[in-house]
Amino acid sequence: MTQRGSHRAAAVALGTVLAFGFASGAFAQPGEVDDCMDCHGDAEDDRLELPDGSEVPVQILKQAWDASVHAGEIGCTDCHTGISEYPHPDVQEKDLRGFQIAQAETCKRCHYAHFTKVADSIHYKQFEEGNRNAPTCVDCHGAHDIAVPGEPRMAVDARCAQCHSEISDAYRRSVHGQALLDNNSPDVPVCTDCHGSHQIKDPRKPDFHAASYQICAKCHSDADRMERYGLNPDVVSTYLDDFHGASNALYAEGLGRPDKPMVTCTDCHGIHDIPSLTDADASVVRARVLTTCRKCHEQVPDGFQDAWLSHYPPTLSKAPLVWLVTWFYRVVIPLIMLGLVLHILMHLWRLRFRRPGGQR
């Protein structure tokens, strides 16, 4: 190895040490967790009393920490930033919720991108409006026992159910919830698949309603996934080819806002308690369509629902008039256009090659 080579090797070695140091050790000191666990890893139920009388449990289940995604990655003082010595300084927060909120602040030191998403969410808006119970990071993810998010899938529902228990109950009754509970199906949505996790929008807003078909479309226009359950893969395309669907598609792009909401998937099928229609009685379903129509079009006569072909392309037996009109244009438009183009070409050909006077 030459002189220069050895310098280079030294530089690389130093760089590696520094880089590694930043990646893992820039945070806590090695062995710090063990030191803390000497006191906080007891099985006893020690609690710290706060000024308002609420208590913060200060004991940590070591197994839970070791199983968490952070074990071996960061140390205690990375989150508990105010603590660097013993005895510990007094806790500043006056109650347990205040302590939790303050601790959640430390998450964004590493997970800033997620924090910015949360900042756009309905949860954060609630929080800003003074609802201290609006969820922060630790309410969903836990504190010392943070697991890989979204696993197991059923845990997502349990987490949201902490606050949204009625919706969770409805979901568990639905065809989606049932499939998850019974078969742990990977194909059905859990809460976060439709609502997102961090950037959860206010589902009561008209914008959300207009664009909500896109949530259903993620799975219901996936032909492979639908085939596994014998479901119609055309439900989204047929919806969009209708007046209301096309309107919502344009509204979803931000091209205005409907005066009154345009009917979308959930208005007929329900939101969280969506039932299976696979074995449903067709006449019952059709009656429900009319009921849905009357939510907006109050005075519609019986038969109005026939304007909606139930997500199926028209057939001669089910919707003869629509089928005839569709096929009429499918045949007539190409025929007429072919005839006109040929006529034009023949005219040009005559002008070019069959000029009177004998040329060509």
Binding site: L240, D242, F243, A246, S247, A249, L250, Y251, E253, L255, G256, R257, P258, D259, H297, Q299, V300, P301, G303, F304, Q305, D306, A307, W308, L309, P314, A319, L321, V322, L324, V325, T326, Y329, V332, I333, I336, M337, L340, V341, H343, I344, M346, H347, L348, W349, R350, L351, R354, R355, P356
Partner: protein, 266 residues
């Protein structure tokens, strides 16, 4: 001379009037209204394209685009109603000939003209005031407009429509409205623009619908039967010149079009 207005163009050529002022105004209004309907309607049909979003945005969002589309549609309906009323009234009072209504002769003309295109016939068949191509386009336009107006009315008042014709007709109306629009636009873009603008014998533009006039010379070649009807004695007696007391010889000879094939317009 059978009650046809004669005049001279800028070059002094003798012309017959083919379209009265009202017809020309009607044509301009139709262009504006039709374009508006296309620009506000097609983005609704092709809602998932980028250009649709751009167009809708141009009109101030979907709601505004719909209002404009409906106002234009009502204007178009009134225009169509007036057009038909004038036609029916004109025919009843015998002030108007049914010169745009297709007859069996038009089928024979079409056959003979195709033979001419293929060189199986020396001369182009003699055409009436409006030849079969013009009649085809005109009848297509009127029929298509009736479909558009009827289905448009259905879609504008869906609840009332369903009460009368049933829900399925509403779904069929939507299909018909959107497909008939495609057919109309294609015919205009391909056939009408070719005939009136791009065809070599009228390029760069057949101005008959703008000035309302066609030179007698052109009429003789393109609509020989109509020429014979207006000038039964053969060569036109230049009555206009006689009335003006000016010698007809002083005017430059119109450019002869020759006996070649002629375009399908005017």
């Amino acid at each position: 001379m059978k009650g046809v207005k004669l005049s001279r163009d800028r070059d002094g050529r003798l012309c017959v009037e083919r379209f009265a002022m009202w017809r020309r105004v009607e044509h301009v209004i139709t262009i504006i209204v039709f374009s508006t309907l296309v620009l506000t309607g097609f983005p609704q049909k092709f809602y998932d394209t980028a250009w649709a979003a751009t167009l809708i945005e141009l009109f101030g969002g979907l709601n505004d685009a719909r209002v404009i589309h409906r106002v234009a549609g009502i204007t178009f309906s009134i225009l169509l109603g007036l057009h038909i009323a004038v036609f029916v009234g004109g025919v009843i009072t015998k002030r108007m000939r049914m010169s745009l209504v297709p007859t069996p002769q038009d089928l024979r003309d079409a056959w003979q003209n195709l033979r001419f295109y293929f060189g199986l016939r020396e001369k182009q068949p003699r055409m009436p005031k409006f030849d079969y191509r013009q009649k085809f386009e005109y009848i297509g336009m009127v029929m298509g407009s009736l479909v558009m107006v009827a289905t448009g009315v259905f879609l504008m008042w869906p609840v009332e429509t369903a009460g009368v014709v049933g829900g399925e007709a509403l779904a069929a109306s939507r299909i018909a409205h959107s497909n008939e629009a495609v057919l109309a636009l294609l015919v205009i873009v391909v056939w009408h623009i070719y005939s009136a603008v791009l065809a070599p014998d009228v390029f760069p533009l057949d101005k008959t619908m703008i000035t309302g006039k066609m030179t007698v010379e052109e009429l003789k070649h393109r609509h020989a039967i109509e020429y014979d009807r207006i000038f039964p004695a053969g060569e036109p007696v230049d009555e206009l010149a006689a009335a003006e007391g000016a010698p007809a010889e002083g005017t430059p000879e119109p450019e002869p079009k020759g006996d070649g094939p002629v375009g399908p317009t005017s």
